[in-house]
């Protein structure tokens, strides 16, 4: 705001120039990594280095120009960081599987399209608040889609995908965002009621069930769907998102306690009832004994070998053997990166995520309106928890559950959803950073 205030003539904010500089840096890093990976693997520069650099430059330039037009005051760090992660992910996918790389390039283009479309459609974050029940229905509908008889598809024992004309899509990725919007607007609307007890029982004020019921229903329903679809990672993500947002919005520590209890109950239930969950826990604790059983510890151990092979400095791009890790391009891509870029590369990736999450939370802090503040918190939480769940799983810190690593893993739905998430965060950032005068002009133009 200080910057905006210093530019009363509403010239293009300095933030966009910063962003452009960072984007150039990201492109250079990605291009360099791409060349190194090709040199390491084949001993020659990639034949398509020209078109490759051309395409990423073009894509990011379009995104940047869109930002200048649609969200000129938004944060300058998020887009270049996402572009860097996306680029690193692409290099590793290309290094592992040429066919997937082509698709990933297409998905990136579509993702950036979705990013711009979101910025274009959502001119003010507060506009979303009004459609809270539409987003609730949309979220649940998206979650339910894979259970439909014809289009729903099972992959690796989880029913998370829909297949339309040869293209598989994971609608749950988008559902997370829709539901985060719903939670934010609902919790803000009912904030006071949720924060303070309205029923007096003896000396205690307790929550009136009728106020919290819709949220509980949404949470329970979504959780059930995740369980039916065998997506434990998303289940946990969703749960953490909900409890985190509730706590941030109300400040009642009781919700954390309730969350812990519900988590214990849910986890126990899942362990008792869902074979998938049992085997995940079992292969987390005993990867070696289950080394040769299908779905056992093989993947984890191959990932462990790969990371250990990398050591501190890594084998070098293209010089490792990440093709030995099952699902190296999707769930286990972090192991592949850690093998070739080492502890330093892995730590850099972690730092990039922390930068994004931290920026997201800073955007939340700067928001004046509750809805935007809570939505920014929720979106940052999605990013943080998803990253933690998959990297924690790959490194065997926590049980392995199949979620994607945002912006890096191969996967169209994940990439599109994350670009939409990014667009929303930037929109919120832009809203709170726009100088009042500029905003007024904007409104005048609109009206």
């Amino acid at each position: 705001m200080a910057i905006a205030a210093a530019n009363p003539t509403y010239r293009l904010p300095a933030r966009r120039r910063t962003e452009l500089g960072l984007i150039v840096l990201a492109v250079m890093l990605t291009g360099g990594l791409y060349m190194l990976a090709s040199l390491g693997k084949a001993g020659s520069l990639p034949a398509n280095i020209g078109p490759f650099l051309g395409i990423i430059c073009a894509l990011l330039l379009v995104a940047h120009l869109g930002m200048r037009k649609l969200a000129p005051y938004a944060d300058p760090i998020l887009l270049p960081t996402a572009a860097l992660l996306n680029g690193v992910g692409y290099v590793f996918i290309a290094r592992l599987d040429h066919h997937l790389a082509g698709l990933q390039a297409l998905w990136t283009a579509i993702g950036i399209g979705a990013f711009l479309l979101t910025l274009f459609l959502v001119r003010h974050a507060r506009d979303l608040e009004r459609y809270r029940y539409i987003f609730a229905l949309l979220g649940i509908g998206l979650l339910l889609m894979p259970l439909l008889p014809v289009v729903g598809t099972n992959i690796n024992g989880a029913r998370l995908w829909i297949r339309l004309g040869g293209v598989t899509f994971q609608p749950g990725e988008l559902a997370k965002i829709a539901l985060a919007i719903f939670f934010a607007s609902y919790m803000v609307e009912r904030g006071e009621l949720l924060a303070k007890g309205t029923l007096r029982i003896g000396r205690f004020m307790v929550l009136d069930p009728k106020y919290i019921a819709p949220v509980l229903v949404a949470w329970g329903l979504s959780l059930m769907i995740f369980l039916f679809e065998n997506d434990l990672g998303s289940s946990f993500l969703f749960f953490a998102l909900f409890i985190g947002m509730l706590w941030v919005s109300t400040g009642r520590h009781a919700y954390l306690g309730l969350g812990a209890v519900l988590f214990t109950v849910g986890a126990t239930f899942a362990l008792k009832v869902i074979g998938h969950a049992q085997s995940r826990i079992h292969s987390w604790l005993n990867p070696w004994t289950l080394y040769d059983t299908p779905g056992g510890g093989y993947q984890t151990i191959q990932g462990w070998f790969a990371m250990a092979a990398g050591g501190v400095f890594g084998d070098g791009p293209g010089r490792g053997s990440p093709q030995r890790i099952p699902a190296a391009a999707t769930d286990f891509i972090f192991a592949a990166i850690s093998e070739e870029l080492g502890l330093l590369g892995g730590a850099a990736i972690l730092a990039a995520y922390m930068l994004m999450v931290g920026t997201g939370l800073r955007i939340a802090v700067r928001c004046e309106r509750d809805f935007e503040k809570l939505l920014a918190t929720g979106l940052s939480l999605i990013l943080a928890v998803q990253t933690f769940v998959i990297i924690g799983g790959v490194t065997r810190l926590i049980p392995l559950t199949g979620v994607t690593l945002p912006f890096i893993s191969y996967g169209g739905s994940s990439l599109i959803a994350n670009y939409i998430l990014l667009a929303l965060l930037l929109r919120i950032s832009n809203d709170s950073a726009t100088p009042v005068a500029a905003a007024a002009t904007d409104m005048t133009v609109l009206s």
Binding site: W304, A308, A384
Partner: protein, 648 residues
């Protein structure tokens, strides 16, 4: 308005959230540090072992030859049709086409594709011994059979058919129990072949050779990234047996003829034909323990095991009452009957119970109980000669020649009655010295030890199984029974032949030797296998002469028990010494035995025949042995003529 944005509390909560997230990421970093720096050497070592898969190519086994270099077990090339598992999975119609071509059922082939014994990195064998025409068809129509290959593999072949099958043994797939930690260390795989019986098993380590090893670098899906031949297969060594295949063949034919002829003979006790279901012949060199022939009848065809024996065929062998897979020469347990008198005579001489000059009045029986015995009738407590015959005044030589039981009963009874002087197992001790009641140590597997009963073993059995062994005490009658190789005495044909070899060579107990040397493929001797002496039995020349005279009389003397079997045999040129035996078996016709050695003045061969339920030793076994001698001494072997003399 909500409390959310009011005051600092919301900002504080967001800060707390940020701190929590930083902590989570810090834990990820710590974990990465642990995996990539602290725990790295351990993982590197584990990874080495896990990304490399070793595939073993079995080496061709060494050959087995007879003492003159005639090949008894060779290798031949067999066409094996294999399929890659990837193809089998991806293109099931290939399996159907193959099933038609090989004329087997689809399910059979699918079963084989799933066989977990085969390494997932090598093609699975679907059919062995495939006809050349089929192989040609497969090669000409390769496009219809992707992933299918015909490979030539080495399998066992038997130029002499079933000859010496009991000695050679067979090769078959290693079983779970055989695949011990030790075998795994030697590089055995679950689909490997291993010698199961006979020489194939005894000399497995020499015959097997060194399997080829290919190192495969595999990826996460088990696809082969790289392959390197770490070690080429090396064929196993050749084993030269002490067997002479001509003698073996001769002995096998003689026994088969003898058994066939014995079936025509009528058992006077029952009035029925002798069943003569099987028997054994042993030929060995008494001077060094080399086994020249070991015959076990009935036998099996080792060719049936080539390329994997069918369940049905194997079950047929196992359920055959004649136990064709067992080697009777080392696993068959028989009462030795009168052939055991060798032991009793030596024991009597060693202890001084008898001496060669002393005469004994054979009245046809020995009275042990209180009742007065009669030569003609069966009385309790009386041990009679065969056919209740009385031989009158007999010395040791004559007692052997005519097979006087009473003479030897007397020795047995004395051992027990004067046990304060000779010990409770004086007789048994000599039997043990001569190699009974323990395995002879021949390198063939599954040899039986046999048994020589004594008071201690009797008491032990009674204590353990009082219902089966109702009597725990030892009586004079037991020693009397033992003295003529009856009662609970059980010996293997090889033990008995080896005991006579000891007598023939003057007292040395040899460990019977089945192989002479191990050579490489070029014939270079890698390991000579020398005769091994096990011990010495005191047989003084005077005793030996007297006994020798008796044994020679058996075949040569007019009233010798085996005289008729050796009629027309050139006794002066090749004097044969031997002893007949007719062992009573509870509920069955008697076992016919004849053990001999020749030439008596310089023994070169011990020849023994043991025939189950075939009648008198003189009638069935002696003619078989005679025919073997005919062959050994280059006389023309005639037909085995089963005698009807009814002599023990």
């Amino acid at each position: 308005m909500s409390t959310y944005s009011e005051g600092p509390s919301a900002q504080v909560r967001l800060t707390v959230l940020a701190v929590v997230i930083v902590c989570l990421f810090a834990s990820l970093f710590a974990r990465l540090w642990f995996l990539q720096v602290i725990n790295e050497p351990k993982a590197q070592a584990a990874a080495q072992n896990n990304s490399v898969r070793l595939v073993y190519t079995p080496a061709a086994r060494g050959r087995i030859l007879d003492r003159n270099g005639k090949v008894l077990v060779d290798n031949t090339v067999s066409e094996v049709v294999t399929i890659s598992r990837v193809t089998a999975k991806a293109e099931p119609e290939v399996i159907s086409r193959l099933a038609l071509l090989l004329n087997v059922s689809n399910d059979d082939l699918l079963q084989k594709v799933k066989d977990p014994r085969y390494s997932p990195y090598v093609p699975v064998p679907l059919a062995v011994n495939v006809q050349p025409a089929v192989v040609v068809y497969l090669r000409e129509h390769q496009s219809e059979f992707p992933g299918v290959e015909a490979q030539a593999v080495a399998v066992r072949s038997y130029p002499y058919g079933t000859v010496a099958a009991n000695i050679l043994g067979y090769v078959s797939q290693i079983s779970g129990q055989e695949l011990t930690a030790n075998r795994k260390r030697q590089g055995y795989q679950a689909d490997d072949q291993i010698g199961k019986t006979g020489a194939e098993s005894a000399y497995e380590d020499a015959l097997r050779g060194r399997p080829g090893v290919t190192k495969l670098q595999v990826d996460s899906k088990g696809r082969v990234l790289d392959r390197a031949v770490a070690q080429a297969p090396v064929q196993g060594h050749d084993v030269w047996l002490s067997i002479d295949v001509n003698v073996q063949k001769l002995a096998e034919e003689s026994l088969a003829q003898g058994l066939a002829a014995a079936k025509f003979n009528i058992d006077k006790g029952t009035g029925k034909n002798y069943p003569a279901p099987g028997g054994a012949v042993v030929v060995l060199n008494p001077q060094n323990g080399e086994v020249v022939a070991l015959v076990s009848n009935p036998t099996y065809n080792p060719q049936d095991f080539v390329g994997g024996i069918s369940q049905a065929k194997f079950a047929q062998y196992l359920n055959d009452p004649g136990h064709p897979l067992n080697d009777r020469t080392i696993q068959g347990l028989y009462a030795p009957g009168s052939t055991f008198k060798l032991v009793t005579a030596v024991a009597g001489l060693q202890t001084g119970i008898i001496n060669p000059a002393q005469y004994f009045n054979d009245r046809g029986y020995l009275q042990v109980g209180k009742l007065t015995c009669s030569a003609r009738f069966q009385v309790a407590g009386c041990f009679t000669n065969d056919n209740h015959q009385a031989y009158g005044q007999v010395n040791l030589s004559r007692a052997i020649t005519v097979s006087s039981d009473a003479y030897f009963y007397q020795i047995g009874a004395t051992f027990w009655n004067d046990r304060s002087k000779y010990g409770v197992d004086g007789l048994q001790n000599v039997a043990r010295q001569l190699g009974f009641a323990s395995t002879t140590g021949i390198p063939l597997p599954n040899e039986a030890a046999g048994r020589i009963p004594d008071p201690a073993s009797r008491a032990k059995e009674h204590a353990q199984y009082p219902k089966v062994y109702t009597e725990g005490n030892w009586f004079t009658g037991d020693s009397v029974n033992t003295s003529i190789g009856q009662g609970e005495v059980a010996v293997t044909p090889l033990q008995l032949a080896n005991a006579y070899a000891t007598f023939a060579n003057g007292g040395t107990v040899w460990t019977p030797q089945i192989a002479l040397k191990i050579t490489d493929q070029q014939g270079k001797v890698l390991q000579p296998l020398s005769p091994i002496g096990r011990g010495h039995v005191d047989i003084q020349p005077a005793w030996r002469d007297a006994m020798m005279a008796g044994f020679q009389g058996v075949a040569a003397s007019g009233d010798g028990t085996a005289h008729s079997a050796f009629s027309g045999f050139p006794m002066t040129q090749y004097p044969v010494a031997g002893k007949t035996g007719t062992a009573q078996v509870q509920g069955k016709a008697p076992t016919s035995l004849f053990v001999s050695f020749a030439p008596a003045n310089n023994p070169q061969y011990v020849v023994e025949a043991v025939m189950e339920e075939s009648g008198y030793g003189a009638d069935a076994a002696a003619p078989v042995v005679r025919r073997v001698y005919d062959g050994l001494f280059n006389l023309t072997p005639g037909q085995v003529v089963i005698g009807l003399g009814g002599k023990d």
